[in-house]
Amino acid sequence: MASETPLSHQLFLRMAAEAGLDIQSPHMDDLYAYTSGVLDGLRPLQNLDVNGAEPDMAFRPSPE
């Protein structure tokens, strides 16, 4: 979700419901603000030069 457009409140609530969260909870306002901040903070991922790099999913760093 760290795309060019910020996470809309409507989309946030839809995703929260799909994830099993109680969207009627007053806690949702805090979560929306916090989540928006986190996703903003991830925007630099889009600027990384990862051309040709495969995701490093291997769990084991190889011994030297």
Partner: protein
């Protein structure tokens, strides 16, 4: 040796006396239980203390040693485990009342290896809830306090391990490190914390936070004790899919005191980040001392240092939320507010961003690998500041006031991304008498070089011999 000296003696010292039958494990355990009773009301390092079980185990160890069945350097030595290490028959809470009554049937691999080595389990240590935070906050079992100043945090997430080791409440403690949770409390409490290479110490039977970033490891008062602990707990475990099947050396053999010719690089980017000048000075002094001992110290560049934080955040938050998703749905309102927020926010990280972060991880790993062809170790501060005040939302790092949580992880989390071994050792004290940590990181599976350098520096200084006022 009086009771206080027993509590501050290293495992190396105690084991030599135990082996020679000059000291009984019963005396060691009694001294530690008394120390816990005296200091626990202030520190709150433990969630569970096991006095009867520990005394019984000490009596058994004493008998075994008396009849010549000495198992090795950890026989009769007290150990306490962060309360996310499963222990057979002993509750394991992960720092949450949700698991107040969870009693595992089996030991995690590390606990089993300690038992095999004859170590005596004193108890289970307090921690930031679900290991998800660097400050040692826990409303369910009480916040942890720093032995050097109880108004300050012990660090997290292995905060109980840091305070217990620093205050002589236990000889060997363990932590787990996903973004710095071994090294942060080690630095803030003035002890030694080693995050081994990913895959070297088994994660089997530990509550996960982030599968690809979690590292179990020792938190102790001396580098020798870190090496002794690694000798007992490192090595292949078929129960852990990430466990590396490689030969484990005798880590104590690395402790030669000789660092002549060792190439140590300090990334210039570390010193551009928010940093308390007293910490910067202590680290520069440490590097100068190592240079005077024959190391070749040079400035290097780690251009993706800041990027590694973003990469770590995306991976950690996505993986933690995946693990705790069901718990959030069933018991979210019982989770500590800031931890709950982090867990829930991770649900909104897209698979595309998670995979882009893993691509970034590949690029960052390559950069660090190339750097570690030019030098043998990367050095810098473990923490940009000394221990912050409990529940402080910001800290002052030099001229900059910065949020506490990202500040405390700024130098540590890069090495969770790479999986490299990294150690924090004491390298000074601030004008307020709070400990400062030096971080040394090496090549994957080259703990020998990390420990050798840390030990040589430790032996040339007396920071590790200082005791907190408690």
């Amino acid at each position: 040796m009086d009771a206080t000296e027993l509590c501050y003696a290293s495992a190396g010292t105690l084991s030599r006396l135990v082996q020679q039958k000059e000291l009984s494990p019963v005396e060691i355990i009694d001294a530690h239980l008394a120390r816990i009773e005296a200091t626990e009301p202030v520190l709150n390092s433990y969630i569970t203390v096991l006095p009867e079980e520990a005394r019984a185990a000490a009596r058994r160890a004493e008998s075994e040693i008396q009849r010549g069945d000495y198992r090795g350097p950890l026989h009769g030595i007290p150990v306490a485990l962060k309360d996310l290490y499963n222990t057979a028959g002993v509750r394991t809470t992960s720092g949450s009342r949700i698991f107040d009554n969870f009693i595992p049937e089996r030991d995690c691999t590390v606990a089993g290896r300690f038992r095999q080595a004859g170590a005596i389990l004193l108890g289970k240590l307090n921690m930031h809830q679900f290991a998800y935070g660097p400050t040692g906050e826990n409303p369910d079992y009480g916040h942890m306090h720093n032995p050097w100043d109880p108004e300050m945090v012990s660090g997290g997430s292995s905060g109980g391990s840091g305070s217990a080791a620093a205050a002589g409440q236990c000889t060997i403690t363990t932590g787990s490190d996903t973004g710095g949770s071994i090294r942060i409390p080690a630095a803030l409490c003035g002890i030694v914390g080693l995050k081994p290479t990913y895959g070297l110490v088994s994660r089997h039977g530990l509550t996960p936070l982030s599968w690809s970033l979690d590292h179990p490891g020792p938190m102790v008062r001396t580098v020798e004790d870190a090496a002794l602990t690694m000798n007992a707990i490192a090595g292949h475990d078929p129960n852990d899919v990430a466990s590396a099947n490689i030969a484990v050396p005798d880590y104590t053999a690395a402790l030669t005191g000789d660092i002549r010719g060792l190439r140590i690089g300090f990334p210039r980017e570390y010193f551009d980040a928010p940093l308390d000048p007293e910490v910067a000075q202590a680290v520069h002094d440490a590097l100068a001392l190592m240079e005077s001992m024959g190391a070749v110290v040079s400035e290097v560049s780690l251009p993706m240092f800041q990027d590694s934080h973003t990469i770590s955040t995306a991976i950690l938050m996505a993986e933690a939320s995946a693990h705790f998703r069901d718990l959030l749905a069933s018991d979210g309102d019982k989770i500590y507010g800031p931890v709950r927020l982090r867990l829930e926010a991770g649900l909104f990280i897209s698979s595309a961003d998670y995979l882009r972060a893993q691509q970034g991880r590949s690029v960052f790993n390559r950069q660090v690998r190339e750097l570690l062809e030019q030098v043998d170790l990367l050095a810098g501060p473990t923490e940009p500041v000394t221990a912050p005040r409990l529940l402080a939302e910001t800290v002052q790092a030099g001229e900059r006031e910065v949020p506490t949580v990202p500040a405390l992880t700024q130098y540590t989390r890069s090495y969770n991304v790479t999986g490299s071994p990294a150690i924090s050792i004491p390298c000074g004290f601030s004008s307020a008498e709070m400990p400062i940590g030096l971080q040394l990181a090496g090549r994957p599976f080259d703990e020998v070089t990390v420990l050798r350098a840390a030990h040589a520096y430790e032996q040339a200084t007396d920071w590790h011999t200082r005791r907190p006022p408690i």
